[in-house]
């Protein structure tokens, strides 16, 4: 029963992935939250509609970009487990794009923080010491900054050129994505005042994804051990 369900799901995913517009479709899906937020921001800042971003526009801008970055990161981390569970190797073709999209939303999130909270829309107003204080003194900002620094370096080295140049180190470096994901969840938990259910739900999802990787690693090692006498 479970096997049949998995086969059907695998066939469905394989069909979707096989579609010639699969990659562009994923691209558009990733772009759409930015378009929707950008449209509301345009109405607020230029159209004079002061309700377009809710009562507290900076909260709306920061929360929506931050949450989208996290969700896209978790989707990125779902690619490998899904590929292995369903046996649809072609899913791999969207992984890099998803990762870069997660970084894009994180960069938007950080830029909005710099502009609205630290007033970095001009050099005169930008509160550089305030930023430094925030990173050093506020642990939730430190956690967020950690995640962002990691995502930035992974986005920069995401190209095929860098992949070749770094060889084995590329995979080592890109394993830091797990640290970034955990730091992002911690950042989300630490900004809450009392109700931490939402970040914990995403944290549980991340824990499942990480646990699956541990299972895969154990399976791989076992298989290697079984093969050993045969090859010897």
């Amino acid at each position: 029963m479970a096997t049949r369900l998995r086969e059907r799901l695998a066939a469905l995913v394989a069909a979707a992935v096989g579609w010639r517009f699969f990659k562009p479709a994923v691209f558009v899906a990733c772009l759409s939250p930015a378009i929707w937020l950008g449209y509301r921001a345009w109405r607020f800042f230029l159209g004079g509609d002061l309700t377009a971003l809710g009562v507290d526009p900076s909260a709306t801008l920061e929360h929506e970009t931050g949450k989208t970055a996290l969700i896209v990161l978790l989707i990125t981390l779902s690619v490998t487990p899904l590929r292995r569970l369903l046996g649809v190797n072609r899913l791999q073709i969207v992984r890099r794009m998803l990762g870069v999209w997660s970084f894009t939303y994180a960069a938007l999130h950080v830029s909005i923080y710099l502009v609205v909270d630290q007033l970095c829309y001009s050099t005169q107003t930008c509160d550089l010491s305030g930023i430094w204080q925030d990173v050093l003194k506020r642990r939730f900002i430190f956690a967020g900054a950690t995640a962002f620094v990691i995502l930035s370096s992974l986005a920069i080295t995401s190209t095929t050129g860098w992949q070749r140049r770094l060889r084995k180190n590329w995979q080592r470096l890109h394993r830091l994505v797990y640290v970034a994901a955990v730091a992002a969840i911690v950042h989300f938990v630490w900004i809450q005042k009392s109700d931490i259910r939402e970040p914990l739900r995403w944290g549980f999802f991340l824990a499942v994804l990480l646990a699956l990787r541990v299972v895969f690693a154990i399976q791989k090692r076992r298989r290697a051990r079984v093969r050993l006498p045969v090859t010897a």
Binding site: G48, L50, T51, L53, G54, V55, D56, P57, S58, A59, L61, V116, D117, Q118, L119, T125, G130, Q133, D134, R138, R139, F140, W190, I191, Q192, K193, S194, D195, I196, R197
Partner: protein
């Protein structure tokens, strides 16, 4: 934001409900029960939508000398004030109160007054607040989360209320208890605080003329999400000090526990005076954003700009220690 300033300057509070409109509306409400019922039903069916139209009028309030310079502090709109609230009994998100507070029953309402008073007992709202002496006061409201608004409250000084119940000389503090009603308040299960919500003031803070017992907003009966039917507002303190939907007022000689200080003692204290130099551990309090501006570009004022009137209450106190 430039446009925002223009819009709100257009709406001076005196233009919102002229007295004759007050009275004619009031007559209409009194003579047409159906109209009143319709208004209430409207408020229940469409939370957030044209709340000002659904909310009942109050007797005319006299303009108070406690106001603001509206060229510096333009009023926030009724919609802003009533759709962005911290009222955790309805949920921890800012739009939870406007969504769920409609189901709250505020009539009948009893406030238990006890402790060190000569006239303890169960009081109705009208027993505590003289509705013929209502004042409209325009106050700055500063949340500990760094956003602020300017709000035209209707109410009377808390001192007038306390005088009615006659505090004993031994009373040093006032404790406020907020309503806990699980079948009407979904946030009680989820918001992660201990209930009931408790707040307190020192006696001299409670008796200060600025401390307001609120029953209305923008000339209307106070909307549920803002703490109907009875709440306090202490304009020189962070918003969490101003308890909503009060069911108990207790006078005591010991400093009361207040919910947030119990929950996270290193972040929230008993005094919670607005102070740009005392940071919240997770953010600087030096600047604030006046909604709906997204920019955190307004310098925070000591005692929220009410220092002339209240700084003397804290003479000689280390405000870093008593935060």
């Amino acid at each position: 934001m430039i446009i925002r300033i223009k819009t709100s300057a257009d709406v001076s509070s005196s233009e919102i409900t002229p007295e004759h409109v007050y009275r004619s509306r009031r007559e209409f409400m009194q003579t047409t029960a159906a109209g009143a019922l319709g208004a209430v039903a409207g408020a229940l069916l469409v939370p957030g939508a044209r709340l000002d139209a659904a909310q009942q009028d109050l007797p005319a309030a006299k303009k108070s000398a406690f106001t603001v310079d509206q060229s510096v502090d333009p009023l926030n709109t009724f919609e802003q004030i009533t759709s962005y609230n911290n009222y955790y009994e309805f949920g921890a998100r800012k739009d939870d109160p406007v969504r769920y507070a409609g189901r709250l029953t505020v009539k009948p309402w009893t406030v238990k007054v006890d402790g060190l008073v000569n006239k303890p007992g169960n009081y109705g709202v009208e027993d505590l607040v003289n509705f013929n002496q209502l004042e409209e006061r325009i106050y700055r409201h500063r949340c500990v989360e760094r956003w602020s608004m300017v709000i035209p409250w209707i109410g009377v000084s808390l001192s007038e209320v306390l005088k009615k119940v006659q505090p004993q000389p031994s009373a040093k503090y006032v404790e406020f208890t907020t309503l806990v009603r699980p079948n009407e308040m979904p946030g009680l299960q989820t918001a992660g605080l201990d209930w009931p919500y408790l707040e307190g003031l020192r006696m001299d803070e409670a008796m200060h003329p600025l401390t307001l017992m609120v029953v209305g907003l923008y000339g209307k009966v106070l909307p549920n999400q803002n703490g109907a039917p009875l709440r306090v507002h202490i304009p020189w303190k962070y918003g969490f000090k101003s308890g909503k939907s009060i069911v108990r007022i207790r006078l005591t000689d010991m400093q009361p526990h207040n919910t947030w200080a119990v929950q996270t003692p290193n972040e929230y204290g008993f005094y919670a005076n607005v102070n740009p130099t005392v940071d919240h551990p997770r953010w600087s309090q030096a600047r604030e954003r006046r909604l709906p501006s997204p920019l955190l570009n307004r310098p925070t004022l000591i005692f929220n700009g009410y220092g002339d009137q209240v700084a003397s209450l804290y003479a000689g106190m280390d405000l870093r220690k008593f935060y």
